[in-house]
Amino acid sequence: MTEPPGPNIPTATVVQRRRGINAIWVVPIAALIASAWLVYQAVVSRGPVITIHFGNAEGIEAGKTRLRYLNVEIGKVTAVKFADGGTGVTVTAEMMPGSDSRLTDTTRFWVVKPRLEATGVSGLSTLLSGAYIGMDPGEGGRSRRRFEALDEPPRVLSHQTGTVYRLWSPELESLSIGSPVYFRRLQVGSVVGYALSDDHSHVEIEVFVESPHDAFVHQESRFWNVSGVKVQASSDGLDIDVESLVALASGGVAFSSPQLPGAGGKVPRNHVFTLYPSRRESEEQAVIGTHPFLVYFNESVRGLKRDAAVEFRGLRVGTVREILDAKQLGNGEVRIGVLLGLDPERMPYDMASDLPTGWERRLQWVQRLADSGARAQLKAGNLITGQKFIEIDIVDNPVPVQVTAEMGYPVIPSAGGALEGITQSLASILTQVEAIPITEIGRDLGGAARAANRLANDENLTRTIRNLNTAVSELSALLNEARPLVVNATEASAGLARLMDDASGAVRQAEQTLQAVEATASEEGPMGHEMLTALREMSAAARAIRAMAEYLERHPEALLSGKK
């Protein structure tokens, strides 16, 4: 339908327009740039993806649980799966961009959830926000993406400065991880770990002392256990000592650093200290004997008992724990093993070492000791009782030895013979003492006493004494009558007194002899008793003889005429 255009249709106005590339193409270019930026944000700048192996996934939810370092979110859990071919779960987490440098061998992960412990409550904030995974980047190490989670939160985070020391204790006591470490009742650290030593002879407790307090730990520092309540009753009353309520509940460790001249040599990390059961024992530096070592002796161990001392130049450094059965070596030599418990820190050989196991450390320590010429020797502590102890000291011209270990114990080389000579001379003295005829002497004395006894019991003598009695009574009558004779009698009595002195001196001597005899032969009880009886009778006889002598002095004629 063509309609001829009417003449009344005006012509449109002409305008000049610039022609070029259509500006609308800016829009898709902008969209492309925007998309590229969004994709870059979302994909390229996405942080590394890591997997962490957990024992169980308690509190961990995919898409919800966060990873935090210093309470700053650093990642997010994206998936929770069962571990391939093993127990536990594998948690996949997407980390924040730029966290690569913090994911190394030393990085640790653990679940932070509310924990109620004797030392306090932690992780309360997770009650509301849910559990999160804590992270501690550690220092150095190679980059990695697969991790093994810790069961418990680590007690020492890498940003905490301080030093870890090792304490050796025969038992763990009531310590636990997190137990406080006190210095002058100020908490300066905590127990961060413990483990049974590889030979289960003691417990190794790791304590972390925070900076700057770790500067107070030096060679002379003493650690002791402050767990529980110490009650001491004395004349002053009852003394109850509790370090702190926390220590009461969770156990604790305290240490003191005596300000001794020359003390203060800072000790390296992992330095080993003995954990004393109490403060008193730490002050007395009681010997604990934490470290087991073996010593072999070729000579007799007679006189060596359990709990005998082990000394280093007279300082007690340990205790004999066990005397083992004698063993024959391949070459026919017989030797006896003695198990010692030593406190190596008392010895002038440094035990600090980077070797991983306690066993290797001990072996290295004994090698150091042996290299310096120190040897274990049996020494007599008491010549009479024959008690022995073990002395470790540097000997002259030591034969270099390669330290070995037997039955899992490092063997401290021994030097024999030091005691042989002494033992021999002691034996000869004893032989001479034995040669003294104590029994014979005793028998002779017994004979003498019996002879005296016989004399005293003689009937004639008794009769004579009876006569003497009569004579004495007559004499007294006579004395009353014969006053002039008094002067005579006085003189005579003076002589008599002299005689009595002599007699008593003799008696005293006899007594001394008898005492000596008794002292020597006191073990033979019946004889001593017999001698005592004999002595008593002898003095009675002496008294009779004295009376007779008096009578005879006054009546010499009685010898001829008999008693009137």
């Binding site: 106005t13 609308i24 925007a34 926000s129």
Partner: protein, 202 residues
């Protein structure tokens, strides 16, 4: 069928005044607005906007549109994850609405525009009525895709309780918003008269 262009006549889009084409770019003698036989560079503009929309469609669906913090737990949701969430929680009508409005409609719109553009460029002559209807539906539906954006905008404004509950729009929402706007603009840039230009004189 005679078209105005064949008679060298131009209709003003604004005031409807018919005027004679002077043989160059023209203005309406009555109201002064630019006069064109067809929307200028319609196909190029539509293509440009369509391509931009297609590019942004990817981040719009892959990136989270909304970040929800609820009692300390923060979750980021993409459109699809939202659909899956409602589907798994039994709210399937809601899931269908969101899926249709946010995923299907923009996609169909882009397909429709692409189809229209290609068919016009290839001077296809088939199904012209249908294609015109398709264009009308496309233009009409455009704005309804904004439902999602409205929901996010509303939630962001309403749920602001600090750490307890908080909704924050994310980059995906911006991309999605851009997709909807770009498809609307693309539909606007397309001149449906081009469909009939190949009709010739019938």
């Amino acid at each position: 069928m005679t078209q105005a262009v064949h008679a060298n006549l131009l209709g003003c889009h604004l005031c409807g005044k018919l005027s004679r084409w002077p043989g160059a770019t023209a203005r309406c003698p009555r109201c002064g607005s630019t006069l064109e036989f067809r929307k200028p560079a319609s196909i190029a503009r539509t293509w440009a906007l369509l391509v931009a929309a297609m590019i942004l469609y990817l981040p719009a669906n892959l990136l989270p549109v909304m970040r929800t913090t609820y009692v300390g737990e923060e979750t980021a949701d993409t459109i699809i994850s939202g659909v899956v969430y409602f589907l798994l929680n039994g709210d399937w009508p809601l899931a269908v609405i969101i899926f249709t409005a946010s995923v299907l409609v923009p996609l169909l719109k882009m397909f429709a525009l692409g189809f229209l553009l290609v068919s016009v460029q290839r001077h296809n002559r088939f199904w012209r009525r249908g294609r015109t209807t398709l264009y009308r539906i496309t233009e009409l539906m455009g704005r309804w895709s904004m439902v999602d954006v409205f929901v996010i905008a509303l939630l962001t404004a309403l749920v602001q309780a600090g750490n307890f509950a908080q909704v924050v729009p994310d980059l995906g929402a911006a991309a999605f918003c851009a997709v909807v706007i770009l498809t609307m603009l693309a539909a606007e840039a397309f001149d449906p008269r081009l469909i009939w230009d190949e009709a010739g004189t019938t």
